[in-house]
Amino acid sequence: MNLFESFSAGVQDMAANRARAVITTVGIVLGVASVVTVLSLMHGGQAQTVAFFEELGGLRELRITDSRSDRVVMTAAERASERLTYRDAQAILEECPSVLTVDPEIVRYLQVTWGDRTFRMKVLGTNAHYPYADDMPVATGRFITDIDCETHANVVVMGPTYREDLFGAADPIGKKISIEGIPFTVVGLMEKKEFYFRGGGGPGDRNVLEWFNRSHYIPITTMIKRFTVSDRLGGLEIAARTVEDVPRLEREVRTLLRRRHGVEDFEIDSKREGVEQQAQQQQFFNIVFWAVAFVSLFVGGVVIANIMLSSITERVREIGVRKALGASARDVFVHFLVEAVAVTSVGGAVGLVVGFGMTAAVDKLLGMPTALAPSIPLIAFLTSLAVGLVFGVFPALRAARLDPVEALRYE
């Protein structure tokens, strides 16, 4: 007796007893449907996280910041340290082999004047390697260049948000504006950067990247020369040559800065940690979803085992007859196991369809991101197969072990 025949025998048996088949499969249908929904939600969440960080910038970068000290009284070494400076940034570029670019940043809120209009605005001193420039190209004009930094040029690249406030419809490129009374030439205008967690449009669904749009950029050397008393940095972004080089670069930078500062008064964070943090939040939901899916699958499996056991009691005589005609214990075992798998496979197929429906409903009604990966039908199929195998084994063993003489005598 081959597997296909056992399978079709199982399906025939299901068809002959529809009410039982429906009750049996309800559990597995719900279980597989929840698995499908969970997987879609997980894929959706992950895809959104990745999309967010891709919009924010690549994963090759490390961010170095001053660490906050918990202690009230600083040690002598801590007092002696100049903290993170522009000179540190230069040293990293010269001494760390794994570094590709460094982007020191100093932020100041400064008076920006054009004509008779004056605003207090966020101005960022940076260089040509401002990491977000790749993902947020200038809409018109150009970004800050190495030459701007070398020459301490008085040039500014504007964020898009205040463009209309300052210039109205006029093209700002080439216009002279004054920052704290010093004339600067506008050389570029940034493109607008947007990311909405719920697809945008809804109330409370803010553009989480709006702060980029409100910033203006000048060469960091100009910032140090004109507007600050020291070259202390607000932050330092560095990029490794490749994503794989990131851990090595972190070690190199840590060693270098510890030597220069005499104390570890800085922190190094990677974007990867942000992704991981996001993934951890996602994890919590995933665990809850998985628990629900697992419980439904388990209940579905128990229902199947239960109904199969009672069906075996109904069919004791049939088992006796089959054995009298030459069925071995193995034949009977395979027969009933395959019947269980047939039930769960059909349940799995229905569950897949129901799961797609549930996914669409979750997407539409709750506004949660979902994504249907091609692996989902496969996983649903394997899950229903596994439930059939696991919960079919016990009833099938019972059937296989029946004594033919007693089974034939059974009324």
Binding site: M1, E5, Q12, D13, A16, R317, E318, G320, V321, R322, K323, A324, L325, G326, A327, S328, A329, R330, D331, P404, V405, L408
Partner: protein, 226 residues
């Protein structure tokens, strides 16, 4: 010699009590014989049939089928012997209710393995034709009369061309006219050279056989030959 048993015993444990169903049965049945095993209920004749049919194993003694010891076989080996050598006919037919007549009749070939679906079907239909059931091939057992059911059951017993046809009260659930019809079938099979062993308490049924073994208290008490 087709069947030879030597001092067969079978003891059941019923709770604390021990029941000796067979107390040393020694008999021989030759190829082509027509044998009836008679006796009151509880005489052990059903147990003998189960042991001869390889559904059950003896507690002690020897059972040789085709000069091969089968009394000690277990599990899959015993299932193979049942499948190849034995054709069972039951009092209550024991056809599977959810499949049609052809599927029922071809079941023994299903468990033989290596017989294709088409071949199984072909042989089942062939046997059903000889038993005048060609008009019932696609019917479920509950659509058949009692006599037709038993003929279908006999077809199932014959489809694998077994050495022995073992019939347990084959007319017990049939009216006397249909019962005679079934006995005609068994007579014809015996006349065709098939070894037939009938277990019955009905003297009329037993009278068809050439040889009657009277069973009492787990032993052969008397033997009549005609």
């Amino acid at each position: 010699m087709l069947i030879r048993t030597e001092a067969l015993t079978k003891t059941y444990e019923l709770g604390a009590a021990q029941v000796q169903a067979l107390r040393g049965v020694t008999l021989a049945i030759d190829d082509g014989e027509y044998v009836a095993v008679m006796g009151p209920s509880g005489s052990g004749k059903s147990t003998l049939m189960h042991v001869l049919g390889c559904l059950d194993t003896p507690t002690s003694g020897r059972y040789l089928l085709h000069d091969r010891e089968v009394g000690g076989l277990t599990g899959p080996a015993l299932a193979r012997v049942r499948n190849k050598e034995i054709g069972f006919v039951f009092q209550n037919f024991n056809l599977l209710p959810r499949i049609d007549v052809v599927a029922n009749v071809s079941l023994p070939l299903l468990y033989r393995g290596s017989v294709t679906r088409a071949e199984r079907r072909r042989r089942a239909i062939e046997v059903l034709e000889t038993l005048r059931l060609s008009h019932r091939l696609g019917h479920r057992p509950n659509e058949l009369s009692g006599g037709e059911r038993q003929r279908a059951a006999i077809a199932r017993a014959l489809v694998s061309d077994p050495s022995i046809l073992l019939a347990d009260e084959p007319t017990g659930n049939l009216d006397s006219k249909t019962g005679r019809e079934i006995m005609d079938v068994l007579d014809a099979l015996s006349a065709g050279g098939k070894t037939v062993v009938i277990v019955t308490h009905d003297a009329g049924v037993a009278s068809h056989a050439r040889r009657v073994l009277q069973f009492e208290d787990g032993v052969v008490a008397r033997e009549d030959r005609r």
